[in-house]
Amino acid sequence: MTLDLALRTTEILLALAFLQQSAEHIATARRDRLWFIARMICCLPLLAGLQTTAALGALAAISLFQLHRFQGPYNGGSDRMSLLILWCLLAARIAPDLFWQEVIFGYLAFQLTLSYFISGKVKLLNPEWRSGRALQDVFALSAYPVSESLRALAGRPRLLWVMSWLVIGFEVVFPLTLLNSSSLIAALVIGASFHLANACLFGLNRFLWIWIAAYPSLIWFQGRLLGADL
């Protein structure tokens, strides 16, 4: 994947994710509607590939308003990834030359890799995660399970132990999948499935769309590192 194609694909996926997020905001908080309508309008040229640098600049300015309005991210990690992608795209578009474009977009790919590896590492170091107890607590007491019936999974410790180790294993091993294009594609399919499961079980739908939006950066980055063009 060329840098231009990766940047463009990321812009389209980001615009789609922002349209979805903004529509949700408009539906819930009347007093924020104008800002999120403006955000949706800025997504349209980004989606169409018209004046993309200006559109990214306007979206970045709106993102500062959002941070001020909500005094931080609205939806934790998914908002953080949204901001990271947005600001990396803007910086790449206004970068003075190809070298800096690659450094900036490579930074996004690096952070995407870290997003899996570090969350796997902290789980691996935590005995509660290694025993499956932490995942039991997620189902038993956290605010995430989307229905009361899902809380019953807390009573299946063997299943949750297996699930915990599958998650830890995938996250920790993720950086190694960069060594080969086929393994990376397989890892991204597993990653997307992991986010899909989180979206279904815990209602974290924004994570699914925004993490997928960052995937082209990694596909480009891997090709750039290994000299292959997927």
Binding site: A23, I118, V122, N126, V146, S147, C200, G203
Partner: protein
């Protein structure tokens, strides 16, 4: 005016920094989990009616509903924001967190239980659910003062 604008920008950039250099430590540990409860009062010294949980989750959710929520999930995402606000209110209390909880509770009450409108005051409390050797326990960590519904901008 310029100083105020500068302070606003510096504050926004401080909030932006953790997104540009993220920690990515998702679920490092499963901390006590907050629930927001509310009640309406006729007066601040009214005999208190029982607390109601903010948006209790459904008993079951069909696969069809789960798939639909991949694309449209505004209410749940707002509920997750309420969880963040409750956590912020305990870790680093600010007027913003309390006001935002009141605003979203008032909007929800307007929308779903208009019959409560004869009572003028809204009050909320935070309960944190945790696990100890005896199982799950609930601790009340914050009881907000009653607030006039008409004073809540929405």
């Amino acid at each position: 005016m310029q100083g105020r604008y500068l302070a606003y920008m510096v504050h926004a950039l401080k909030l932006l920094l953790p997104a540009l250099i993220p920690s990515w430590e998702f679920f490092k540990a499963v901390e006590p989990s907050p629930r927001v409860q509310w009640r309406m009062l006729s007066s601040p010294k009214d005999q208190a009616p029982p607390w109601q949980e903010f948006r209790p989750r459904p008993a079951k959710l069909s696969v069809f509903a789960m798939v639909g929520r991949l694309f449209w999930n505004p209410v749940w995402n707002e509920s997750l924001f309420m969880v963040s606000l409750a956590e912020r209110l305990m870790l680093n209390p600010t007027a913003h967190s309390a006001d935002e909880i009141r605003y979203r509770l008032a909007a929800e009450i307007d929308r779903t239980v208009p019959g409560e409108k004869h009572r003028k005051y809204l009050q909320f409390q935070l309960i944190f659910v945790s696990r100890d050797e005896n199982g799950l326990t609930q601790t009340i960590t914050h009881v907000a003062a009653p607030c006039l519904m008409n004073d809540i901008a929405r």
